[in-house]
């Protein structure tokens, strides 16, 4: 292993550039692989085929360039400063989640001890951006969408956090590196060959996390805040050009972040059995990426299959089903943890 000795300032700059580049890149990858190609094939069509030559891989980049050329329109009644700031707040929450996701033994921006708690806390910052967007647009559809989003995100924040608690109890730490390590060094009935991915013991937690994450991302079947047939596009209705692009990056970047969190907590993250040290630094990001794509596939599979729920069905699902199941899951996990 080659050792570099660079100052903390340079290290920080490199980390910042990587994080800044990675979030739009992940949004592009998820948008292309799942939104453009997988959804098309699930609907028995091909999606874009010509841009870029190979299966239309250039389509989303072209779309991004197009968005940058568009006129930046703001309604006359809009609260100008809040309106302009809202997309940045949404994207900011996405960026902040990436800070704690480990891609290798040393490849993490900041291995916080409150890792998972921090990740879920900053991911819910986006609701503030959404509320700002809806309020500042001076549009009744935007306001309705924002209020729906607020109600939905608050309702699903609970099962999201409670689903994670099972993992935290089992690992004994909230640090994501610690959770990965606990899975890598764990044993399945005394056999440590594969480590112990928590999806085996926390399967209910995984299912709850995926459902709640789907609602947090306001993806179908939980896309009432942006329901295009009822609210046109909800809080995004007045946004054009670059600001709309920010919402797009926020949506898919957050999808990637949540997939990465699920992959880290339930599938073992970057860890590969028997691989340690610097080899894991090289292999880790690839393994994590593969696991993230697997989780994202499940997420988008549900997205492209189910129709939208009604608003009261949405709330009933969270309060009557997900939260009680999550609480029982925590209770059982805690009892088993103490018993063994």
């Amino acid at each position: 292993m080659i050792a570099f000795d660079i100052g903390w300032g340079t290290t920080l700059a490199i980390k910042a550039i990587i994080v800044l580049a990675i979030v739009p890149l992940t949004a592009l990858i998820l948008g292309y692989v799942f939104l453009l190609k997988m959804m098309s094939h699930m609907q028995s069509r091909l999606g874009p085929m010509d841009p870029g030559g190979f299966h239309g891989w250039f389509q989303l980049i072209g779309d991004g360039v197009k968005f940058m050329q568009k006129e930046d329109i703001m309604t006359k009644e809009a609260d100008r400063r809040v309106f302009a700031l809202a997309p940045a707040v949404v994207v900011l929450s996405t960026f902040l989640v990436f800070v704690v996701i480990p891609a290798g033994p040393r490849l993490v921006v900041a291995p916080l001890d409150v890792g998972i708690f921090y990740a879920l806390a900053v991911s819910s910052l986006s609701v503030i951006g959404v509320l700002m967007a809806g309020w500042a647009s001076a549009n009744k559809f935007a306001l309705l969408g924002a209020l729906r989003a607020a109600a939905q995100l608050i309702a699903y924040e609970l099962p999201l956090v409670l689903a994670v608690v099972g993992v935290v109890i089992q690992a004994g730490t909230m640090n994501l590196q610690g959770i990965v390590g606990a899975q890598q060094n764990g044993e399945i009935f005394g056999w440590g060959g594969l480590g112990q991915p928590y999806i085996l013991t926390q399967f209910i937690g995984f299912a709850l996390f995926m459902i709640a994450a789907q609602a947090e991302l306001t993806q179908p079947p939980f896309d009432m805040p942006v329901a295009e047939s009822e609210l046109v596009a909800g809080y995004m209705v007045e946004y054009t050009g670059f600001r709309f692009l920010f919402f797009f990056i926020g949506e898919f970047g957050t999808a990637f972040a949540f997939s990465a969190l699920a992959a880290t907590m339930f599938l073992g993250g970057w860890s590969v059995p028997w691989v340690h040290g610097s080899a894991a630094d090289v292999l880790g990001p690839l393994v994590l990426f593969a696991k993230v794509m697997l989780v994202a596939f499940l997420m988008f599979w549900a997205r492209f299959t189910y129709p939208r729920l009604r608003e009261d069905q949405l709330q009933a699902l969270a309060w009557k089903w997900l939260i009680p199941i999550a609480l029982i899951n925590i209770l059982v996990t805690g009892v088993l943890k103490v018993a063994f």
Binding site: M38, H41, M42, R45, L46, W301, F304, Y306
Partner: protein, 157 residues
């Protein structure tokens, strides 16, 4: 509850199965799908059958058919008879920028002068070029499929 969960799993199965099958899309400019034989692509004119009766132009809901003609004197059929007057077609245009492909003109023609052809690739970059004159409409006749054979027992006159 059991029924709902079964339905949701079936839905996931449908989308997954569709994903693994090849798409039904035809990549049009690169590959071509032949339209059905009797597809309504373009209207062809058999000029010698036209009697300039104007029925098609009058029935056309879009008024996209333009017909002009004049009468000519032809020698009498029998010795000592009157000279015959015959209508001659000068102009027969269909403006495909207006046409809505209803096919009423083809239906209404009493002398079998208009036919459907399955050709559909005649888009133009100038809208005025979509006005097909009678020579162009005559060329489409070559693409008109042969009529179906008569049913068994029917007599051809």
């Amino acid at each position: 509850m059991k029924r709902e969960i079964k339905g949701m799993l079936t839905g996931l199965g449908v989308t997954f199965k569709t994903m693994t099958k090849p798409a039904v899309t035809v990549q049009y400019p690169h590959e071509r799908e032949d339209p059905p034989t009797r597809a309504r692509g373009v209207i062809a004119l058999k000029e010698e059958n036209c009697t300039v009766c104007m029925l098609c132009a009058r029935q056309c809901p879009d008024w996209c058919i333009y017909i002009e003609g004049h009468k000519e004197q032809r020698p009498p059929r029998r010795e000592g008879g009157r000279p015959r007057s015959v209508s001659v077609l000068d102009r027969f245009d269909i403006d495909y920028a207006l046409c809505m492909y209803c096919g009423i003109c083809v239906e209404v023609c009493p002398f079998d002068a208009l036919f459907w052809s399955p050709e559909f690739e005649y888009s133009e970059s100038r809208i005025a070029d979509l006005l097909h004159d009678k020579d162009k409409l005559g060329e489409w006749m070559q693409t008109v499929p042969e009529p179906e054979p008569l049913e068994q027992g029917a007599v051809s006159k």
